[in-house]
């Protein structure tokens, strides 16, 4: 990309320096910020894990999925139900949530990836709808209409209670860091190039010997794992609402990714942060914050289709992953 091995390696060092610096800054921020902003930042990092997962599918591989709310919810139930029914602690519950997101993504992907483009969007939306209805239908087991409160045993990790601010921030940071590092490794790998090739031109990618179906399925499963992990974490540290709300959660990750820049690793987190504080600010003025979400989508797609970091990549730093 940058002319020769040497340039690529130099760019690689720069990329790692920037991303690790962001992580370090976030860690320091956790120590310095007042409690209110610390909780917000923890929440943003959790949402960012979800958004990074969405970004892999939407931003890098070009899969316009509306099913991610379902993977997100699967993460919540995969983590929350074992705690509720069998008294699991937070560690195994997080793994359960992550796995639930991935397994559901695999099942949905096997079917939905036979379609493409608009049909893919609609099929994933329909699976999500069927999933949401099933949660209501099996209400005795899932408490889908009213949610449930987790016992405190389910909210302790390695002996720390997740109800306290400090450990909660640390856990959110650790999972965000893991997500960020995995994302950078992934998009800079050979497979990362394959994802972009699929987004840009599937036919040509096929001619290069890439199996589009297998590759997209891998992306979707990885993306599902991220979503499940993000949501499992949400439940465990009690950072977001426990009730399954289909609408905003299927749109918000797309919005975060578009603001920050689709197909940039840091974009997902940046978008989540901007939107979080913007929503926070807007809801202090008016209850009509969904209007703001809608308007932001329209304005972005009209005037800044590449997002903030997309602009940075186009103008300032071509090697930004």
């Amino acid at each position: 990309m940058n002319g020769g091995m040497n340039g690529g390696m130099k760019a690689g060092a720069g990329v790692w320096a920037v991303h690790l610096a962001v992580l370090a800054a976030l860690a320091v921020a956790g120590l310095l910020l007042p409690a209110y902003h610390m909780t917000n930042l923890a929440r943003i990092m959790v949402l960012a894990v979800f958004a990074m997962g969405y970004n892999l599918a939407f931003g890098y591989a070009g899969l316009l999925s509306r099913g991610h709310a379902m993977f997100f919810a699967a993460g919540m139930y995969g983590a929350g139900l074992p705690v509720w029914h069998w008294g699991w602690s937070a560690g195994p519950a997080l793994m359960g949530g992550t796995l639930a997101g991935g397994v559901l993504a695999l099942a949905v992907g096997l079917l939905a990836l036979r379609t493409a483009g608009v049909s893919f969007m609609i099929v994933t939306l329909m699976f999500a709808q069927a999933f949401a209805l099933s949660i209501l239908y099996f209400n005795d087991w899932t408490h889908g209409d009213e949610g449930f409160v987790l016992a405190d045993t389910g909210r302790s990790l390695l002996g720390w209670s997740m109800a306290a601010d400090g450990p909660r921030y640390a856990v959110a940071w650790a999972l965000f860091a893991a997500g960020l590092v995995i994302s950078v490794l992934l998009v800079r790998s050979r497979f990362g190039r394959v994802m972009v090739a699929l987004r840009e031109n599937e036919e040509r990618a096929r001619m290069l010997g890439i199996d589009p179906f297998a590759a997209k399925l891998r992306v979707l499963v990885i993306s599902g794992l991220f979503s499940g992990r993000g949501r499992g974490l949400c439940g465990a540290v009690r950072l977001c609402r426990r009730r399954f709300r289909r609408h905003p959660y299927s749109i918000l990750p797309m919005l975060y990714v578009l603001i920050g820049g689709a197909g940039t690793v840091l974009g997902a987190g940046l978008g989540a942060g901007i939107m979080f504080y913007l929503t926070d600010f807007a809801s202090s003025l008016t209850s009509a914050w969904l209007f703001l979400v809608g308007a932001a989508l329209v304005v972005l797609v009209l005037f800044a289709p590449r997002g903030i970091l997309g602009f940075v990549r186009a103008r300032l730093w071509r090697d930004l992953p």
Partner: protein, 292 residues
């Protein structure tokens, strides 16, 4: 009530669903066929039609049927104008790029729903039917208004069909659908065709909303289900094919009526949604479409 009349009732309810669905879905199909734009805000247009019908009925000091007729005129005009504005201000500037327009219409959907919530409120509100004729069958009585809805939908659909096949405007629209560039080369104002098509599609959804409101009440979130069902109908019918869309609306509407009579509504919806998803997965060109 024995099985035969029970089935008849289920089929009649299904016909009403099918009629309203066909109107909404034909609007969506027109927009997709001619413009290649997936209008995610289509359900919101349907909801706006219903809300406007309520507003007209509530503020017009006249008998119910006058208000209803007024709403049948006002709602499509207002919603059509809104759609035309959205086309000129947003979609046109995106060059009708398929994915960008999806994102933009999702944004539009949220803005319209929030506006309805702010100005109309969170309550479901009923509108009196324009007449209260009751059709007495040997086994049960049936609302005459529901039969009127079916008849009205048939009339509107016939009008759309005539417009598309027998008039110059329809010819121009079909020409644009086949090849936008060649149409432009022949002096067709493609921008105007697109604006008109988008407005017409939204107006059809609004008419469907006005017709349904005396049966099912107006609510600011009522657009979600019709949107999903319209998508299903349009895809099963074959994208852009009007005849396929109407047939698919009949299948889905009648199927929905029968299934929800014999199973619990939630289970029926789960089964129906999964079944249609499978059709999309294994026959992406639709049941009546020739090619994807």
């Amino acid at each position: 009530m024995s099985f035969g009349p029970f089935l008849l009732l289920a089929l009649m309810e299904g016909m009403v669903t099918a009629a309203v669905l066909a109107l909404a879905a034909v609007g969506l199909s027109l927009v997709f066929g001619v413009m290649r734009v997936v209008n995610v805000a289509h359900g919101a247009m349907f909801m706006l039609g219903a809300v406007i019908a309520w507003a007209v009925a509530a503020h017009l000091p006249a008998p119910a049927w006058v208000g209803f007729l007024a709403a049948l005129v006002v709602a499509p005009v207002v919603v059509g104008a809104l759609a035309a504005a959205a086309d000129g201000l947003i979609l046109k500037r995106l060059n009708y790029d398929p994915e960008a327009t999806i994102v933009a219409t999702i944004g539009l959907l949220y803005m319209i729903e929030q506006a309805a919530l702010t100005f109309y409120g969170p309550d479901a509100r009923a509108v009196t039917a324009p007449f209260t004729l009751r059709l007495q069958l040997p086994w049960f009585g049936y609302s005459g208004y529901k039969l009127f809805v079916v008849a009205a939908a048939v009339v509107v659909l016939l009008a759309v069909w005539r417009l598309m096949t027998r008039t110059r405007a329809g010819l121009v629209m079909r020409a644009t659908q086949v090849d936008r560039e060649v149409a432009r080369a022949f002096g067709i104002n493609v921008d105007r065709v697109y604006m008109g098509t988008f407005a017409l599609g939204a107006a059809l959804a609004a008419v469907a909303g006005v017709l349904i409101v005396p049966i099912s009440q107006a609510h600011y979130l009522m657009g979600g289900d019709p949107l999903l069902l319209s998508f299903i109908v349009v895809i099963i019918g074959g994208l852009g094919s009007l005849r396929g869309t109407v047939i698919a609306a009949l299948i889905i509407g009648l199927g929905d009526g029968v299934i929800s009579m014999f199973f619990t509504p939630t289970l029926a919806k789960i089964i129906a949604t999964l079944a249609v998803a499978m059709v999309l997965v294994f026959r992406p060109q639709g049941l009546f479409g020739a090619k994807a």
